[in-house]
């Protein structure tokens, strides 16, 4: 197994899969980077450094810099997917879903169903999301819940390099539109990555740790924050079942329910505002399906119901913290 970070896992997976399957194409703003300048193509290999070398290796037919036009990027991906290609479209900030929403929401997500199940739309949209870099209200949002709410889309959020490889490979080999969320603060996270072919099935949560007292469900950066909270309460002998969802659509309901049936206590951690959130969805699902197992009301740890502020200390106050997760764990344990 190689040690690499999430960024490297994504780059190497793109290289390997594009080599394996000539139908895969990549498009987005600055994915080549430097086109039409004296520095030339690949002066920059993608603004997040997730596409270096791809243009040199696969050429301008398969690695396409686009003008700034997200509707066109996503719409072109949808059309190419209907025409036998496997496009990977990059939105350098997930917030720009706003600009391209119709092509995701009314088009790509609905083709298969609307056309009587006779077609497929194998497009992967890579979205860079999340708070933590003071990028403020229009560049920090975690819009995964919104897209999870839309039937027809698969929604994926890797938190380890191994999962980045496994989930991206699965996305590229599947036939559905996949929203592949990359947290902007996690690119540097290192870990072991299996060599060779590695696919991670969707809808299979990762058991990060087993502790038996409280079930904590999280995704993305919140998994790492939950681990910190789990370390903190472990000092007092409290054991956490921590689940990393990996994908929110499909959702591994069984893993969540199984754990809650054991612990009787649930904390859901979600890096977005609370109303109609992933946290609310999971809390409701558990309340409905495992009510008699519950020893305390499910707790949601979310951001406040507000946009994301710029100032460093305000942003810190906005993002759910390990401390808030720890407090929620203690709260559900203290309930009687």
């Amino acid at each position: 197994m190689a040690i690499m970070n999430i960024r490297e896992a994504i780059v190497s997976t793109l290289h390997a899969e594009m080599e394996r399957d000539s139908d895969i194409i990549l498009l987005g703003e600055d994915v080549v980077g430097g086109n039409g300048t004296a520095g030339g193509p690949e002066a920059i290999g993608g603004i997040w450094g997730t596409s270096p070398g791809l243009w040199k290796k696969f050429g301008p037919e398969r690695v396409i810099d686009t003008p700034i036009s997200e509707s066109a990027i996503i719409g072109a991906a949808a059309g190419a997917a209907l025409s036998g290609k496997r496009p990977v479209a990059e939105l350098m900030f997930a917030d720009f879903v706003g600009v391209s929403l119709d092509q995701i929401w009314n088009q790509m997500a609905k083709f298969r169903y609307m056309f009587g199940g006779k077609t497929k739309c194998p497009a992967v949209v890579r979205l860079v999301y999340g708070a933590g870099m003071q990028t403020a209200a229009q560049h920090s949002q975690s819009v995964y819940a919104m897209l999870t709410a839309m039937p027809g889309l698969k929604v994926v959020l890797p938190t380890t390099p191994a999962d980045a490889k496994g989930l991206l490979t699965e996305a590229l080999r599947g036939d559905d539109p996949v929203m592949f969320f990359e947290h902007k603060t996690l690119y540097g996270v290192k870990g072991e990555v299996p060599d060779g072919d590695h696919r991670q099935r969707f809808g299979e949560a990762r058991v990060v740790r087993e502790g038996g007292d409280v079930t904590v469900v999280a995704c993305g950066r919140m998994v790492n924050f939950s681990e910190k909270a789990a370390d903190a309460v472990a000092k007092d002998g409290i054991g956490i079942d921590l689940l990393d969802l990996r994908t929110t659509s499909p959702l591994d309901e069984d893993a969540i329910l199984e754990s809650v049936e054991q612990t009787g206590r649930l904390v859901v951690v979600d890096e977005s505002p609370p109303r109609c959130s992933l946290a609310a969805d999971i809390a409701a699902m558990v309340t409905e399906r495992a009510f008699t197992s519950l020893k305390a009301p499910p707790a949601m740890v979310t951001a406040p119901h507000s946009p994301i502020p710029f100032a460093r200390n305000l942003e810190r106050a906005w993002v759910p913290s390990p401390q808030k997760i720890e407090d929620a764990v203690r709260r559900v344990l203290a309930f009687r």
Binding site: N35, D65, A311, L314
Partner: protein, 324 residues
């Protein structure tokens, strides 16, 4: 050009304020005290000042992610801006906006914008409001050569044309959208003004590094738009001296390119040469302004550093207007 002495001094002061604000930020960012993304406007001063000097406080502008220059030209408080960029409680937007979303509606500056192309339709809305109010006001949108490719810009231009509202589309072509050149990304043979013409709008073209040429073009445009002829557009050939954002290594630039544009296409140097050459102002006049501007920027940075951080308890305030 009938600019009087005071107008010339004022224009120079605003351009110089923008330049020093940016030069100073370029240094301060290295300290790590300023977070998030900062996109500097240095090099493009003649555009913002050439236009905004001819606007009133009731004319509205909508800006880009590169908004400091538009803010200063439109009359935003420089110290309030600096505090905002430092994320302080006394900032123009209480530290919520930062560099990329800064706004000051009191001076008709409806906001920088983190969404490329997000502003253009809003300027049309401002122009609709201006026409209803009937006081000859205008709505202006600034866009880069990148933003002109966004659907919103096209939709806004068409809406402005069919409604014949007093909207002005200002295209600042600094030849780069992030790291991609206009030679690659702008499909009309790089001619953005012709797109506006394609929608049936009258369009101007000017050298955006020449304050006087830019100013004169805006005088004509404002006359045309205020007379009720409907919207207008202008494409300005300009330069940005710094990277797309602070920290951008600019590997896409040609060798010596930055030195060359600084030497040959500096709107401040050109302004000085022109006004002193024509004996309209003296070097001493301009040097005095330089010193005053530098002192103002020093104060702004010191006050921003000393200002308080916003109270974390206020993080979810201002989501809605409170009615009771």
């Amino acid at each position: 050009m009938q600019l009087n002495r005071d107008e010339l001094l004022g224009a120079y002061r605003r351009m110089k304020t923008i330049r020093e604000f940016e030069e100073r930020l370029h240094e301060e960012i290295k300290t790590g005290e300023i977070g998030g993304f900062t996109h500097l406007y240095a090099g493009q001063e003649a555009v913002a000042v050439g236009l905004c000097d001819q606007l009133t406080i009731d004319d509205k502008i909508v800006s880009t992610h590169r908004g400091h220059g538009h803010c200063i030209a439109k009359g935003c408080d420089v110290k309030g801006m600096m505090k905002e960029i430092y994320g302080r409680a006394g900032g123009l937007c209480k530290g919520r906006a930062g560099s990329m979303h800064i706004a000051d509606l009191d001076v008709g500056m409806l906001g920088a914008n983190g969404i490329v192309g997000g502003g253009a339709p809003q300027a049309v809305g401002a122009a609709i409001a201006a026409r209803i109010d009937g006081k000859g006001r205008v709505g202006v949108t600034f866009s880069g050569d990148g933003a002109c490719n966004q659907g919103t810009t096209f939709e806004a231009m068409n809406l402005a044309v069919v409604t014949k509202v007093p909207a002005i589309f200002v295209f600042e072509n600094n030849h780069y959208s992030e790291h991609t050149g206009d030679a690659y990304a702008v499909g009309t043979n790089r001619d953005i003004a012709s797109r506006a013409e394609g929608f049936g709008m009258k369009a101007w073209r000017a050298n955006g590094c020449d304050f006087f040429e830019t100013y004169a073009a805006f005088t004509e445009i404002l006359e045309y738009v205020r007379a009720g002829n409907g919207p207008a557009a202008i494409e300005l050939d300009t330069e940005r001296y710094y990277g797309h954002f602070e920290g951008d290594p600019q590997r896409y630039r040609g060798k010596g390119e930055l030195d060359r544009i600084r030497a040959e296409r500096d709107c401040l140097k050109a302004f000085r040469a022109r006004v002193t050459g024509a004996a309209l102002l003296t070097d001493a006049d301009l040097d005095t302004i330089d010193a005053e501007v530098l002192a103002l920027i020093d104060e702004a940075v010191a006050e921003a550093r000393a200002d308080e951080q916003p109270d974390p308890a206020t993080v979810a305030d201002d989501v809605y207007v409170e009615y009771y």
